[in-house]
């Protein structure tokens, strides 16, 4: 297959199909695990349900900073992603979907989502671990385990999708330029 024949839709379709199967299988496992935990399946008993919630009324500076890092990065990421989305949509609306600037805007959004969401989750995990270590003794997991558990896989799919469509739009822009130059 030459570079000319390559189309980003093929890997994207394969990726979406694979993701659908994986998510479907995961959902089935989650349902079975929950039914088992509730004792609704034959040979299973009720399991305890736990949730971690610890508060301090007199936080140190480090705890306050960790508390900030626990919430702010994800909020900033959401805000940044929305701002870039609005910028992309506004440009496409005002200048047309095949304007020169549109693929670049979508590409910026794609890279931001692709890198920003894991980075925000990393800060969240580090802050959460630091906060928990300072409040509880014998904490079970480090920041990497936390990060891995809460890794935003959706951002990989969303980022790659945005970059793929930016590539498609770049081809569209070239086609528009060719059409405009045709007499």
């Amino acid at each position: 297959m030459t570079r000319q024949d390559w189309t980003p839709l093929r890997p994207l379709t394969g990726l979406a199909r694979g993701a659908t199967w994986v998510i479907g299988a995961g959902a089935l496992i989650v349902v079975i695990a929950n039914l088992s935990a509730m004792g609704w399946l034959p040979g299973t008993g009720t399991s305890p349900v736990c949730v971690e919630r610890v508060c301090t009324t007199d936080p140190t500076t480090a705890q306050s900073i960790a508390g900030l890092g626990h919430q702010v990065p994800q909020a900033l990421f959401g805000l940044g992603a929305l701002a870039l989305l609005v910028r992309f949509l506004r440009t496409a609306w005002q200048e047309g979907p095949y304007a020169d600037t549109v693929p670049g805007r979508l590409s910026t959004l794609g890279w931001f989502v692709l890198a920003g969401a894991p980075a925000a989750e990393l800060l969240h995990a580090v802050s959460r671990t630091a906060l928990r270590d300072s409040l509880l003794h014998g904490t079970p997991a480090g920041w990497f385990t936390e990060w891995r558990a809460g890794f935003p896989w959706w951002s990989l799919a969303a980022g790659i999708t945005a970059l793929t469509f930016a590539h498609i739009l770049t081809i569209g822009v070239r086609m528009r330029e060719d059409l405009e130059g045709t007499v």
Binding site: E177, D178, G181, T182, V183
Partner: protein
């Protein structure tokens, strides 16, 4: 002047002068806008449709080779 990635030059100027036609008159004859003919005349066109070329050749009574030339 041809576009940077081609070596095809358009000689509409010469043909118009030889036939005593203006760009506006030719535009009316071949049913192409003056803007598009100007793009073609000034060498900024990236492509020309066969239908446009046919009408230009009819109106100017010429061959495609009279209008377009390969100049590497």
């Amino acid at each position: 002047m041809p576009p940077p990635d081609t070596a095809i030059t358009v000689h509409l100027d010469d043909l118009l002068a030889a036939r005593g036609l203006t760009l506006t008159q030719l535009a009316a004859l071949v049913d192409v806008t003056v803007v598009n003919l100007s793009v073609l005349k000034n060498g900024r066109a990236k492509a020309i449709r066969f239908s446009t070329l046919t009408r230009l050749c009819q109106a100017l009574d010429c061959q495609p080779g009279d209008l377009l030339r390969y100049e590497p």
